[in-house]
Every structure is written in C-alpha cells, then in structure tokens.
Symmetry: C2
Subunit: 154 residues, 2 copies
Amino acid sequence: MAKAQLDELDLQILAALSTRADLTNKALAARLGLAESTCAHRVRGLRDRGVIRDTRIRLDAATLGYPLEAIIKVRLANHTGEKVNALFDALVATPRVLQVFHVAGVDDFLVHVAVQDAAALRDIVLEHITVHPVVRGTETQLVFDLRDGRGVLG
Amino acid sequence: MAKAQLDELDLQILAALSTRADLTNKALAARLGLAESTCAHRVRGLRDRGVIRDTRIRLDAATLGYPLEAIIKVRLANHTGEKVNALFDALVATPRVLQVFHVAGVDDFLVHVAVQDAAALRDIVLEHITVHPVVRGTETQLVFDLRDGRGVLG
DNA sequence: TATGAAAGAGTGGGGCT
DNA sequence: AGCCCCACTCTTTCATA
C-alpha cells in the first residue's frame, strides 16, 4: 500500500471517526460543514484506498469471563522461515489470543491473551505454545492495564 | 465490571458483529432469524451492559505515512505508584503511540508505536521515554507483522 | 421478552454548479 | 471537487401478544 495523499479534510474525517466510529454520515457531515453526499463520498474513498481498513467492535474481555490478560513472549530455537510462519498461524488460531506481534529482536513473538484464570494461562503456554519444537522458551507478563495512545493522527 | 450472563443469542450476535462490525441491524436480524426490533434491543443491551465497549475504525498506518512499527520495552528504576502513573499518562499522550501495555515482570511498559522511519523512532525513545528519570532502560523491537487472534469468543 | 407495522431518520445516486 | 434534491433503506418506537 503506497502512501496516499490526504488533504486536510480527509484528516478531519479520520480524526472525527477515530473518536466515534459509529457517527452517522449525517452527523459527520454536519460537524465538518459538508454536504452529506460529499461526506459519504469522501469516507467511501478513504475505505476504498485502504486508509480506513475496517470497522470493529471492541469487546470487554472481563465482562465475558476472561478478566486476566497477559503478554507471552516467545523465543525460538532457530528461525527457519517456514516453521516461523507455521507457528505464527498456530498462535493466531489459538483460542483466547487477542493479537500476535511478530517481532525482531530478543523475542520472536509477543502473544496477547485474555483468559479466565491462571490455570487457563498455563494451559495456553503449555498446550499451545511450548508444544511446538521450534519454541525455545517463553516468558509471561501479566497485563495490569492497557490503554490506547493517540494513534498515528496524534 | 461483573461477569455478565449471556445467552446463546447474545454470543451469536457478538460473533457476527466481530466479523463485520458495520453490519446493519436489518442484516444482522435476518442472519439470526430475529425481528429487527428484537435484534436492535439485544445489541443495545450488550452495549449498555458494557459487553460491547465501543466501535472503532482501524487505520492503515503505512498508508498514512507511518510504515515502521515497533514495540518499545520500558524498564523502570523504581516503582513508586505515583511516578508510574504519571509515566503511563505521558506514554499514552505521545504522538504515534498506538497502545501502551502496563505489565508485571521484567519490563514495566510495552509501547506499540507506528512511525515514518528509524529517525522518528529514535526521537520517540530519546525525547519521550528515556527523558523521564524513572526510566532505567528501553529495548526496541521492530514489528514485522501483527495479526489478530480469534479473540475471547474463539 | 419478542413481534409487526408505521413513523421517523439516514443514505447515496443523479444532475448540476 | 462539492452541493442539493429525492427515492430508497434502515432504525426505532409503540401497541400487542
């Protein structure tokens, strides 16, 4: 995806929608002083160009019965491309996994999970991660709190 | 937030909306074989109960001119509650910061950033992170790839 | 609690500037 | 590009079961 040229209006739209993604087109147009059709056209353009990837709901893991979040650092024994990708796929497909970072450095993967209790966390580590022969070790860090930053528009 | 009691229908709604958050209420109702009004009430209930926290758009950082993502691990010298919170606030308010994990363990914070190039990354580390006296050290890991997992419903 | 129907609100295309 | 208009779709309220 190449760098898109965005004018000031595009940035305003993105800023507004970043605050409230469920803003109606009518409300968004009113806020920016645009005609509704113009606004709708712009937003569609941003989606078509891939600037807005998609719209997602955020669930409250605790309310759903998974109050314990952790980051599991995964270190590999070797870095054969094929095995790394297979592991990546496996991690992403593991229940209770929220996101998986594939990183360069001391660790190879950072796995963000939400589980019901410590036992469930142990099960994930033992049954879904260290079972893979390519995994050399893991280190788990409890997540006290997770907050969103200002993002790329900040 | 206490654990909410969710029936099978609630879970189906959450699963459907997790796939496509921009599904119209009409389409959602049709998919689940519900009356539109019933479906709307259910969804509103899930929002009111906090099960659905909010709706967000996901921006493509690369398209916006920030193609380089990294995780910056931050380690503290001491852990006075007040200073830790102040640093947390500062990290979250830093431009280009996507999310900040406050974790227990070797590291204290994991800062996920998206920047335009290596120089910008260095500037964040030097000017926004290591400037805080409480920060004892950082370690930066380039993010090759980031994928979403199955989530808590998986 | 779920439903259907009707009133109200929002959307998006066409023709125009 | 942006705007206005209008037909269409979707949402929401309400009476009813």
